[in-house]
């Protein structure tokens, strides 16, 4: 047996997946993670580090060495708030945040169940075009206010909702 083996679970790097990840990042205009030199500045600035122990630098390290499955299936990448600090400040112009977006996309594509409220958001968009419908909000005196009552115009919505839904469902099956 050649190459690297993770002795904790006997897993091996997945070269093909790694190649595919690099390809997809390139489509987005994001650089190959191989330049990461593990300074951990991303983790030091990560908004989800202290509370949820997200370590972008270790996501990058795993991806660089090819241990993708483990990362893709881990809960921790769902803690990323998408604040883009890691991307903004990376001295090597890497983008852990985009790497994690793709890994999460793959998890979903592979049939993984959507965590938290994502199912609702997705359902909302597919049925009405928005993640939520306009509600009647309460002011401090518990008085209800709708868009209409406030004199706000009706908001726009996809005119051809069937076409809209069909486009999204086609994309759900496509590779980036």
């Amino acid at each position: 047996m050649m190459g690297l083996t993770d002795l904790f679970n006997m897993s091996k790097p997945e070269g093909d997946k790694q190649k595919e990840l690099i390809r997809q990042l390139a489509v987005l205009g994001v650089k190959n993670p191989s330049l990461c030199f593990q300074c951990a500045k991303c983790t030091s600035g990560c908004e989800a580090m202290k509370l949820l122990e997200l370590q972008p630098h270790s996501v990058m390290a795993s991806v660089k060495t090819g241990f993708l499955d483990e990362m893709m299936n881990s809960d921790v990448i769902w803690a990323c708030v998408g604040c883009f600090k890691c991307k903004e400040r990376c001295p090597q112009e890497m983008s852990p945040v985009d790497v994690m977006f793709i890994l999460k996309n793959w998890y979903v594509m592979s049939g993984g169940s959507l965590p938290g409220d994502y199912q609702n958001l997705l359902q909302g968009i597919l049925s009405t075009g928005y993640i939520q419908e306009p509600v009647e909000v309460l002011d401090k005196d518990n008085k209800g206010w709708s868009r209409e009552k406030l004199g706000l115009p009706k908001r726009g919505h996809p005119k051809n909702i069937n076409g809209f839904m069909s486009a999204l469902s086609q994309l759900a099956a496509e590779k980036l």
């Binding site: 489509v27 987005l28 205009g29 908004e47 989800a48 509370l51 949820l52 769902w78 803690a79 990323c80 708030v81 998408g82 604040c83 883009f84 600090k85 991307k87 903004e88 994690m100 977006f101 793709i102 999460k104 996309n105 979903v108 594509m109 965590p115 938290g116 409220d117 994502y118 958001l121 997705l122 968009i125 075009g129 928005y130 993640i131 939520q132 419908e133 306009p134 509600v135 909000v137 002011d139 401090k140 206010w145 868009r147 406030l150 706000l152 908001r155 726009g156 919505h157 996809p158 005119k159 051809n160 076409g163 809209f164 069909s166 486009a167 999204l168 994309l171 759900a172 496509e174 980036l176």
Partner: protein, 287 residues
Amino acid sequence: MIRKLGFYPGCVMSAEQYAYEMSIREVLPDLGVELVDLENTSCCGAPLRSVNLLMQMYLSARNIAVCEEKGLDMFVPCALGHLSLVETKNRLNNSKELREKIVKKLKENEGLEYRGDLEIYHTVDLLHDVIGVERIKEKVSNPVKWKIACHYGCHTIRYTEAGRPDAAEHPSKMEEIIKAIGGETWNYSEKLNCCGAPLMVTHKEAALTKTGEKLKAVKDRGFDALAIVCPYGGRLLDGKQEKAGSTIGEKLDVPVFYLTQLVGLAVGRNPDRLGLNLNLSPVDRLI
């Protein structure tokens, strides 16, 4: 009139953060910006980045196309939406492959023509760069003389490569506007910290902790109020302040305003028309 722009409010503002929308509609025409409502809009896709990036880009691209049909440049007051639209525009310009894929789907399924050559403004650059601090200053009749902290929100300023309304590390346009309308403001270390909003989808407790910490910092720094430019942030910073306080075990009472509400007050608009009754944080204390 200096500009006529397609107005794209996005999900959160049009579904619940009415105060932001009201103050925008109340203030901008007075400052020379005519807003044109768009009819065929939808979510910008940003909440779906983690689920499917192609869907995200499709949704952003379709809203761009909807505005382009009107031949107008675009105003997107939501930071999350603004980044998603601008980023998608860049990505489709830089990747033939992506562009062909998305443009084809837009045409085939919804009959939309995508060009991707419009300008997309956010509240910060619209007020600061297009309208200009001087023009705002001229209109001020009722200066807001409070100490106001600025919160740009992550997506207003990051990431630089995408082209943002202000600088990533030392943004200053909101501060200039606050000073123009009579307020006092200064830099504080937590200025660039996240409000926690995106975490509401998966980690509510953590989200509220971040909201609480952000507001506590503003309070500890001696500010009277917090100015924001993002409905996603407003939902927590203004709407869930009490909950955020109890999460971190602090009593929080920071008045939170949308920047457009503050400008509206300063130029003498009727507080009712600025949606101030809808702010759940203790803004009454100051007005």
